[in-house]
Symmetry: D2
Subunit: 140 residues, 4 copies
């Protein structure tokens, strides 16, 4: 089992008057990677999950470049009707001794599975649990 | 008959690396004023209009300030299934001899009335025409 | 000492395909209130603070309406070079027995004071500490 | 001489309550392609151009998918201190008899070259003219 890796492109206008990518843009980057993770795996799932919580730590400023950021995602804390997605955001334009990029941010999102018809939380199915198990990070 | 006047607040992160409000943010300002114009007047209308075209001229750069921009709107070119909304965006933080603010942008939007069920244009109703007539700009 | 209260307008396009305000938009609402809190109080301060961390809990979905959300803010955890801003986001369009609106979200932001010239954290000044003390929430 | 082709990824939250990509998001897509066109070719240039005007026609609604949109760009109307970038936005997820995708939007942007130090328009250099000539669309 390995991390899910996804490249996300910044938008030039995501930079703010400090000439850094504004903190509000990162949630969109997390969304892009999370949606890529689940879009074709859970069609019903995609329509049945809401965001209950985000935590994000900004570790280094990012200056726009056309090359994408690299996001690495994994899942833990799978409960009856929720799970947590973790992210590391790598700025590949900045050298790093460890790997191809500097960690610009770390974040986590609590997702709750919802029955939109009844407008309340619903239990994860066995199929969904199996898919989420594939996103566990054994290296962690 | 007079222009529809609406105040719109900028967001600090609408500024870009040039320390000016980015051109992409203005369409959101136009939207905020246009939605305010129609939201309570046409509830079905609000759900039955799509944007077919925008034109926008940027006349002066805007630097963020907490006070709102003032937008003035009027309607013309009412056709069978479309109408045009015009806008002037005033930056009230900049002195102007003529009135309370400098014109930062001028724009127009072609709106098409749509039957979403049939997924095709639909004719404006008489009630809608009467409301749009109230937004004509006699001074123009 | 009381909470800082600020009204923030949603944008219609902040709604997503679920017809709820998208989770990514809330950080912009927090920013608008936080900037209003500090913009005229700390001109140098505004230019000398970066966001180190956000936490946000989404408690109830919000549907767009033209009336503003009400945000209440207060400050605690004032350290040598950082402080934490707390927020409650009230949806005033939803009835509530307790006060004028339902709590839609709670959040907190860790701000770090920075010397941009030297590109490193800097100590809060006594003047800044005095201003932040005025935003403590004695009711908490 | 051929069109400049660039792929742009949508964000899921660019969809609005109609479940279509909101009209305000397209200017960001145009920006992404335009920045990719010029970012490494004109470093000074990138810092010395402002947007004077946009026109955009929305021809077909777009529903989010993780695969990118394909944008085709070309340049004409090169004047002393301005030029026009044209765009076609193709939704590659929709079949088309003619080529790989349906035209979702057509747009054009008037860019003005600016001397930011003097805060006024400046003439295009010969080097800039040569680069822009490479973006003419001979097929048009």
């Amino acid at each position: 089992v390995a991390r899910f890796v996804h490249e996300v492109h910044m938008r030039w206008s995501d930079m703010d008057a400090y000439r850094h990518i504004n903190n509000t843009a990162y949630l969109s980057y997390l969304e892009s990677a999370r949606v890529a993770m689940f879009f074709y795996r859970f069609e019903g799932f995609a329509a049945g999950t809401v965001i209950a919580r985000h935590e994000i730590d900004y570790l280094a400023p990012v200056v726009f470049h056309p090359e994408p950021l690299r996001l690495e995602l994994w899942v833990d804390t799978v409960r009856a009707a929720s799970f947590v997605v973790h992210y590391e955001v790598f700025d590949t334009a900045v050298d790093s001794a460890v790997d191809g990029g500097r960690v610009a941010a770390r974040a986590s999102t609590t997702c709750v599975t919802v029955d939109f018809t009844a407008d309340r939380p619903r239990r994860l199915t066995n199929e969904e649990r199996a898919i989420l198990a594939g996103f566990a990070d054994d290296s962690a």
